[in-house]
């Protein structure tokens, strides 16, 4: 006996972008994890609007580009970071212009909110945070007490975070919709917590990722995966862990161009709109 041989038809990147509706709450991974840059470009091309992005626990180029392209109404994140490339230019400009609602968080509180959703419970207690101005600005965080005793003092509770969609890029997916992420298990948490999970995969695994325990331990079961699209080089230009590095020259060029509205518009024309117009 074995698992039923469900052959999940793969879809396209454009279809993934079309299935992320305007206004959706979309969970994204940081640049060092699995970023579906190819779908981010498709979202920009389709003119997505009013997205609520959740950085798990921070966002990088994905966030900066979507914000710059006017796709984002709200960003919930512990940080927006382009690491050594410097401050995120479009994020910074949007904050300055007051066009982005920023919900500032802290990494473990985002993990805790997703963990609550993963467990199907309304909130999660978490250490620290007491006395931080972050707490003053969150109506979805509150202070409570340990119901079993009082030795620990006040304890922060964060509301569950239930994204509509998790959007990630992974090294491998099989035809049953199982997705291999290795040790980058924040993507497992994201998939568990989200209503739907959309994946682009670098390569298709010929076989069943759950059949080999060495692969299964690092695999998101197809149970949690809504759609998969094959997309070689789908994390370009930020890179994909264990597969390929960042395209540093391209990212530096982005940074330079995204400093101004015109420069950023030119970048989008060249790398988002023109390639589609040519098809």
């Amino acid at each position: 006996m074995g698992r039923p041989a469900v052959t999940q038809p793969f879809t396209t990147v454009e279809d993934l972008a079309a299935r992320i509706p305007d206004g959706a709450k979309v969970a994204l991974a940081p640049d060092y994890s699995g970023c579906s840059m190819v779908t981010v470009r498709a979202l920009i091309a389709r003119g997505a609007r009013n997205l609520h992005l959740v950085g798990v626990p921070s966002v990088g180029f994905q966030g900066d580009m979507l914000i710059g392209a006017g796709c984002v109404a709200t960003l919930e994140s512990a940080a927006v970071t382009l690491e050594e490339y410097g401050p995120a230019p479009r994020f910074t400009a949007a904050i300055k212009a007051g066009t982005l609602r920023m919900i500032d968080g802290t990494c473990p509180a985002i993990h805790a909110g997703l963990t609550a959703a993963e467990k199907g419970i309304p909130f999660m207690p978490i250490r620290g945070i007491v006395g931080s101005d972050l707490l003053e600005n969150r109506d979805d965080w509150t202070i409570g007490r340990d119901p079993f005793g009082d030795e620990d003092g006040p304890i922060v509770m964060v509301k569950a975070i239930r994204p509509d969609v998790t959007l990630i890029h992974a090294p491998l997916a099989d035809r049953q919709g199982n997705v291999w992420i290795g040790v980058r298990r924040e993507m497992m948490l994201m998939a568990h917590a989200s209503r739907q999970t959309f994946v682009t995969a670098e390569d298709i695994y010929d076989g069943d990722l759950l059949a080999d325990p060495r692969m299964a331990a690092g695999t998101i079961p197809g149970l949690y995966v809504s759609e998969v699209a094959e997309a070689a080089n789908g994390a370009w230009p930020v890179g994909l862990f264990g597969q390929y590095g960042a395209d540093e020259a391209h990212l530096r060029d982005y940074l330079k161009r995204a400093r101004s509205d015109e420069g950023f518009a030119g970048y989008l024309d060249e790398f988002v709109f023109a390639p589609r117009a040519a098809e």
């Binding site: 050594e84 500032d104 968080g105 963990t115 931080s132 003092g153």
Partner: protein, 247 residues
């Protein structure tokens, strides 16, 4: 005499001295100097010190995704960590969010990352910020990402241990809730530090000079540590140790 070492090498050696006899040091993103210091301390410990560097493939023991570092800290398994700040004040509050009246910040920083949590849980948090000017070291931060001190009754096993800048080292006195000047880096003066620090702090009658790294430390730093740190911070390693090796 002035020894031949770079200011960054002094900072690395100074921070490494604060990591003696610990079991586990974690290093966050964008921290080449603290990362080098942790690797130097590990090299000196003959491998007894465990170093976990976020974003490193060679030096990260975590297999449970982004949350594991934080869970690990809450379990008491991390002895030291590093935090910085766009602003740091005299009570060791740190601001990683922005300058101005939040949320309408005039200058926006990347965000709080894990600071609001790790500052409470890691016993020895070393604040590190190379820029030592009144715009960074302020009387009161505009936004508290993570507070330096907490009310009694708050669960807090961690907190600020010291503040290392490009000019000096401050210790943090938890009872007095104040910084105290520990040492002045070679080439800098107590007067200059007073002038460049926006918050009030205590000062000994005769503040010593920050000890210069000795020859054995520099050898280790420019050899093994340079090699190890280049995996995570290649451009930093090339700039600092490439230059130091060529000098």
């Amino acid at each position: 005499m002035t020894a031949d070492f770079l200011p960054e090498e002094l900072l690395i050696a100074t921070v490494a001295d604060m990591l003696q006899d610990l079991d586990h040091v974690a290093v966050g993103a964008q921290s080449p100097i603290p990362g080098s210091a942790a690797l130097l301390a590990r090299a000196r410990s003959n491998g007894a010190l465990r170093v976990s560097m976020l974003g490193s493939e060679a030096n990260s023991p975590f297999t449970d995704g982004g949350r594991e570092l934080f869970d690990c800290a809450a379990q008491g398994r991390i002895d030291a960590f590093f935090l910085g700040g766009g602003q740091i004040d005299g009570q060791a509050n740190i601001n990683l969010v922005g300058i101005g009246d939040y949320p309408e910040t005039k200058v926006r920083f990347p965000g709080s990352f894990g600071s609001a949590y790790l500052y409470f849980l890691v016993p020895r948090v070393i604040l590190f910020r190379e820029e030592h000017t009144p715009r960074v070291l302020v009387p009161k931060v505009d936004f508290i990402s993570a507070p330096g001190v907490s009310d009694e009754g708050t669960y807090r096993v961690g907190g600020p241990h010291a503040l290392v800048t490009g000019r000096c080292v401050f210790d943090f006195d938890k009872a007095e809730k104040r910084f105290r000047l520990r040492s002045v880096h070679p080439g800098h003066t107590v007067e200059e530090i007073r002038e460049q620090t926006g918050f009030d702090y205590d000062e000994p009658d005769d503040a010593p000079e920050t000890p210069a790294p000795d020859a054995a430390t520099l050898d280790l730093l420019r050899g093994r540590v340079a090699d190890e740190v280049s995996e995570r911070y290649p451009s930093f390693a090339a700039r600092i140790f490439g230059a130091a090796n060529a000098a």
